[in-house]
């Protein structure tokens, strides 16, 4: 179980591969891996988006992501989970969030990965501010 806040760009598929090989390191035990990647779109709520600032609450973010990771591990029969979330200045197409769950069977992997994303979206203290061609704006829940 690992969570991480990143200030620089990351490649989610390289991260999943590396974590699986070096940290999880349970070849033959996981029959199912469910991965979700959220990426920055260049269009939102009818406007072209040129850049994004992602603010977070340092400390609380980590605590919250660890809490939901532990909850997922207690609710489903999973082997491990990985969450990486970007903060700072982002460009369109940049990965924002990676959630990966390893399990023996697919139901637990699917359920736990979706649970983690829904909990992260609803309560993890991150806020997006978009740079539009003529102004910037804080994203609201209704926009997404």
């Amino acid at each position: 179980m690992h969570i991480e806040i990143r200030t620089g760009q990351f490649d989610p598929y390289v991260e999943v591969s590396r974590y699986q090989r070096t940290t999880l390191n349970l070849p033959g035990q996981y029959g199912a891996t469910a991965v979700f990647v959220g990426s920055m779109r260049d269009f939102n709520a009818g406007d072209s988006v040129q850049a994004m600032h992602l603010e977070h609450y340092p400390g609380m973010t980590e605590r919250y992501l660890e809490k939901i990771s532990a909850q997922a591990a207690s609710r489903w029969d999973i082997l491990d989970s990985l969450i990486i979330h970007r903060v700072g200045e982002l460009r369109p197409d940049d990965p924002i969030v990676l959630v990966a769950v390893w399990a023996a069977h697919r139901e637990a992997a699917f359920d736990a990965s979706r649970y983690l994303m829904e909990e992260l979206k609803s309560r993890a203290p991150f806020w997006k501010k978009e740079t539009l061609p003529d102004r910037s704006r804080w994203v609201t829940r209704a926009d997404e």
Binding site: Y57, P125, F126, W138
Partner: protein
Amino acid sequence: MSITVKYFASLREQMGTGEVRLDTSAATTVGEAWQQATDGADLPANLLMAVNMEYVDAHHKVQDGDEVAFFPPVTGG
């Protein structure tokens, strides 16, 4: 007693600061801390609150040294 009050995102911009120190009487709730910090403003309905980085509601009692945070609905992921 003394608490730290933090604001994030659009609320931080509205407040013009991300953090203030508040000297307050004992037995203060999070809702009362908000009112003291904002000179009596109503607590916005959708505002989220945390004490020492755990979500709480406005009735939660704050203790000396607590970190109390107010912020708008989150939009990560």
